[in-house]
């Protein structure tokens, strides 16, 4: 089941690859949409059948094949409450991108193949239960995203940015590999299997060796997340990437970092995690505040959204850090904090994905993200303005949207752990609220102004149907989670409690 979910897009890509590139672009994108839809249907089926299919280790739909047994590597897949929501979010986001891509005209075949491969890689990462398999998907996501940015980004500058992105995140991934090797060597018998490592718990005692492993893994994941001070690759990468690339990069690829914390760092290095939880929490707080402040200062819409991602990922770190600090304390609080962090991942994926697609619409119309070039859009493009406003309010954490559920839980859970830093982090919400309101005001209110094509001013088109169909469901889902979060929380809460139980060992 999981293999099918993961490799369906790759198989589709292989089949499409055999077709000649001169076929109509619609055919390729149509296939992509169909595949994304089918894949999402499979994920939803898996979600629906979940309670019936419990595996022996708490993971469901487990699949395990020997891959390189002499090196302790296996092809091991499985889902639980941590990964299934992210899996579903990935499926939704790729479907949205497929619909949004209907307007793509440049080298469509290669574009679709690349995104289908990327989809396989992203889905695979969230269900991988072997460190090397995880690393494989982690690394390939970087390679494929490099080609997306370099090939379909905005002009010549995109190449340099893509190179920076590749080098920077590749360094992170190799640090991660170093940490994995340390974990591998610590276990007897040596293994890369996450389930076996969790059970054996070789580094339960902590100590400098475990600390180094956590440092290597932490740096690797922090680059990907990204947190301050490893975030500098993110804003340029987002600014130069195409809209769909940005949406996937922010929505899915960043989650690989935070997911790594809950899937690998916390359960496998419990003692060190507890020991250094305060550091994690403080890095989270710094990311929250710094990300928000820098976002406030941006004059480029896409850079601003990119920095709010740093801010939002900071909340996740606050949540997981607090869970480590509270390991000896309040069970309810730490479950709340971890649950909030997990919901935040899903919520950020949906909302920021929508924001980046909306930014892409703006770029499509005027070839610029500059705030100064746009004004008074509300009157001419009401649908665009409405959706953007909803996305902005959702992103700033207004009650009724998923962001509120997530951030409320994180703060409530974390406050007992470290009251002062968490109180500082709360100001991040205020700053985010301010910056989104300023952005709304600059773009939508005031006198009408839009960048002109050379010569006559062009009529500015509102959201086209395909764009609307791509973006609106993302926001609808964010609202659904905001209003009726139980369907998600029922899945996430037990998983969060289980992770915390592993951390307290």
């Amino acid at each position: 089941m999981l293999s099918l979910i993961v490799f369906l897009p790759a198989v589709a890509a292989a089949l499409l690859g055999a077709l000649p590139g001169r076929l109509p672009a619609r055919m390729f994108i149509g296939t992509w949409i169909a595949v994304a839809l089918a894949d999402l249907a499979l994920i939803v089926t898996a979600w629906a059948r979940l309670p019936a299919a419990t595996g022996p280790s708490g993971y469901q739909f487990e699949e395990r094949l020997a891959w390189i047994p002499s090196a302790g590597i296996s092809y091991h897949l499985g889902v639980d409450g941590l990964s299934l929501p992210l899996l579903a979010m990935t499926g939704v986001l790729f479907l949205a991108c497929a619909v949004f891509a209907l307007r793509e005209t440049r080298r469509v075949k290669a574009y679709v193949l690349l995104f289908l491969a990327l989809q396989t890689v992203c889905l695979g990462l969230f269900v991988a239960l072997d460190l090397i398999l995880f690393f494989l998907f982690f690394d390939l996501s970087i390679v494929l995203m490099y080609f997306v940015i370099a090939g379909w980004g905005h002009g010549e500058r995109a190449r340099a940015t893509a190179l920076k992105f590749f080098l920077y995140t590749f360094l992170g991934s190799l640090a991660l590999l170093l940490g994995f090797i340390l974990l591998f060597l610590a276990a007897r018998p040596h293994t890369f299997d996450i389930v076996e490592l969790t059970a054996a718990n070789p580094l339960v005692a902590g100590g400098p060796y475990a600390g180094l492993a956590l440092l290597a893994i932490g740096v690797g994941l922090a680059v990907k997340t990204p947190t301050v001070p490893f975030h500098t690759w993110l804003p340029p990468a987002h600014t130069e990437a195409p809209a769909t690339g940005s949406a996937i990069l922010a929505g899915v690829l960043l989650k690989m970092g935070t997911y790594g914390f809950v899937r690998i760092a916390m359960p496998l290095l419990p003692a060190s995690w507890r020991q250094y939880a305060l550091v994690v929490l403080l890095i989270g707080v710094v990311s929250v505040v710094y990300g928000a402040l820098v976002a406030l200062a941006q004059t480029n819409l896409k850079r601003m959204i990119a920095y709010t991602s740093v801010n939002h990922m900071g909340y996740v770190l606050v949540g997981v850090g607090a869970a480590g600090l509270l390991a000896a304390g309040d069970v309810q609080a730490r479950t709340l904090a971890t649950t909030g962090a997990l919901v935040q991942m899903v919520s950020h994926g949906l909302i920021t994905g929508a924001l980046f697609l909306l930014a892409g619409v703006l770029y499509d119309r005027g070839r610029t993200y500059d705030f100064a070039a746009w004004s008074g859009l509300a009157a001419r493009t009401p649908r665009f303005a409405a959706l953007f406003a909803i996305a902005a309010f959702a992103s700033l954490g207004l009650p009724g949207f998923s962001g509120f559920i997530a951030e409320f839980q994180i703060f409530t859970g974390s406050l007992p752990a470290a009251p002062v830093p968490v109180a500082i982090a709360v100001t991040g919400i205020l700053i985010t609220a301010a910056l989104f309101l300023v952005a709304l005001q600059r773009l939508f209110l005031g006198p009408w102004r839009a960048p002109d094509a050379p010569g006559a001013p062009r009529p500015l088109a509102d959201l086209r149907p395909s764009e609307l169909v791509a973006i609106a469901p993302l926001l609808a889902l964010a609202t659904l989670i905001g209003l009726a979060p139980r369907f998600l929380l029922d899945l996430v809460e037990p998983a969060a409690a289980a992770v915390n139980a592993l951390v307290t060992r």
């Binding site: 020997a66 891959w67 390189i68 047994p69 002499s70 090196a71 090397i132 690393f135 494989l136 690394d139 390939l140 390679v143 490099y146 080609f147 370099a150 090939g151 190449r159 190179l163 590749f166 080098l167 590749f170 360094l171 190799l174 640090a175 590999l177 170093l178 090797i181 340390l182 591998f184 060597l185």
Partner: protein, 481 residues
């Protein structure tokens, strides 16, 4: 003494094909000299089959100083497969040339020298095989008889002569310190001498460093790496691929065997010496590769840095049982991937002849999508992207280094890997440029280099298949140590 020539079938196949090829080639008209190429390929296939048949046989030593153990068998396989690939990659460049027969014969002799180096368990035999692995390749480098080729051959020959002198002096010093040249006895004598307090550790250490310098020449490692960029830039791409790959396999296995079987680590601290060579090789190679514009020179420097990763495994050879398989796995993966990259360089042409600069590759993805795909796979493979073979090689080498208490070396290797990504990407990026520079028109000028293309695609596929099916190779190599 065991003097069973039947144990040497793969070596004899190479030698026989070389001799037979030289004789028949002298009488064949030029358009039929492909028969010698077929003979060379046949010898490789025969050697591979013969090795596979005896692979699980127990270890034996023939003619007093040539070990036929799993390490030799693994080396035979790697060298023979690499030679086969090199034959395919060379067909287009050698076909119809005046000295075609010589090309194949020299290649076979060079491959034979590489295999023999790996099996030698005596310093004198090691030196003889060193010469056998070197002299045919000097001639091969000068084979094209162009002026850069001649210059490269001269440089290669002079460095080689110097390295040979260093090596034989080193062997002499080791003989003075240990009174024998056979590895096992040398080890015993050095150990007892150290235990009795009458050893001359400095003498033995200098001797060892000198022998290592000679082997480093063959491997293209620091401190004897200066010939690598000139030779790989000045020769046709297939030749460059051969000299940066095939002797390297033999030399690194020879280093591994020498260190583990002849030199006790408690007498000479060779792990540190080798670690320093490894660190220097990977770093210097990478730094020099950064801003190269010639693809073959870039691959030459990349070859220097790649040796550094393999030497990591040699550095921890005495400390962890994983070092041996890691070294062989990396060599196998590297040999195929590197030959694949050189095969692409051999297959891509411009109107003025073979493509040499990064700019000549602009727009290749549109012109030759399959070839561009093969190049991307091979280059990302050299970086160590999963699931290619080199990734598992790197994984094994890093694991061995950390397990052998040389984590600093693994960290340095990781930093170097990231740095290497930079120059490999400088080659990948132009492939996808849509607007080619006017200097390199898009048309492929009818120089159908099908064999080189085939070799490149085969290498790219092999690197992925070996990666995904790493268990098979890993199992094969784990028995090898």
């Amino acid at each position: 003494m065991n003097e069973d020539p039947g144990a040497l079938v793969p070596e004899l196949a190479l030698l026989g094909a070389a001799v037979l090829g030289l004789l028949t080639g002298s009488w064949l008209p030029r358009h039929r000299q492909w028969i010698v190429a077929a003979l060379a390929a046949l010898a490789c296939v025969a050697g591979i089959i013969a090795t596979a048949v005896v692979y699980t046989r127990p270890t034996e030593t023939v003619f007093g100083s040539y070990a036929i153990d799993p390490i030799t068998n693994a080396t035979r396989l790697i060298v023979l497969v690499a030679t086969l690939l090199a034959v395919c990659a060379s067909v287009d460049a050698a076909r119809g040339q005046r000295r075609e027969t010589e090309y194949w014969v020299l290649l076979l002799l060079g491959a034979l020298g590489a295999v023999l180096m790996a099996g030698a368990t005596d310093l004198l035999l090691l030196f003889a095989t060193f010469l056998l692995a070197s002299i045919p390749l000097y001639a091969l480098v000068g084979w094209s008889a162009t002026s850069p080729g001649t210059e490269a051959a001269m440089k290669y020959y002079l460095s080689g002569a110097f390295a040979g002198v260093a090596m034989i002096s080193g062997a002499t010093l080791l003989y003075a310190a240990g009174h024998v040249t056979a590895y096992a006895d040398l080890r015993e004598n050095l150990t007892t001498a150290a235990a009795d307090g009458r050893s001359l550790p400095a003498l033995a250490a200098v001797g060892l460093v000198a022998v290592l310098a000679g082997l480093a020449f063959k491997a293209g490692a620091v401190p004897a790496q200066f010939w690598v960029p000139d030779v790989s830039d000045g020769t046709p791409a297939p030749v460059a691929g051969i000299v940066t790959t095939i002797p390297k396999i033999g030399a690194l296995v020879a280093i591994y065997r020498l260190l583990t079987q002849a030199i006790p680590a408690q007498v000479i601290n060779w792990p540190l010496i080798v670690a320093i060579l490894a660190a220097a090789s990977m770093t210097l190679g990478n730094l020099a590769a950064f801003f190269q514009t010639s693809v073959q020179r870039l691959l030459g420097y990349s070859a220097i840095s790649q040796v550094g990763y393999v030497l990591m495994a040699a550095a921890v050879a005495a400390r962890t049982p994983q070092a041996g398989p890691a070294l062989l796995l990396y060599l196998a993966a590297y040999a195929i991937t590197n030959l694949g990259a050189f095969a692409v360089a051999a297959a891509v042409t411009t109107p003025d002849g073979p493509a040499r600069t990064l700019d000549d590759y602009r727009g290749l993805a549109r012109r030759r999508p399959v070839l561009a795909g093969a190049l991307v796979v091979c280059l990302l493979g050299l970086v160590g992207t999963p699931p290619t073979a080199v990734f598992f090689g790197k994984l094994a080498v890093f694991t061995a280094a950390i397990d052998g208490a040389m984590a600093w070396l693994a960290v340095l290797a990781i930093v170097n890997t990231v740095a290497s990504l930079f120059y490999y990407l400088r080659w990948i990026a132009p492939l996808f440029t849509t607007a080619p520079s006017p200097a390199s028109p898009l048309e492929n000028h009818g120089l159908g280099r099908h064999w080189a293309t085939g070799a490149a695609v085969a290498a790219a596929l092999a690197t992925v298949i070996i990666g995904v099916g790493a268990q098979a190779l890993w199992g094969l190599l784990t028995t090898a140590s």
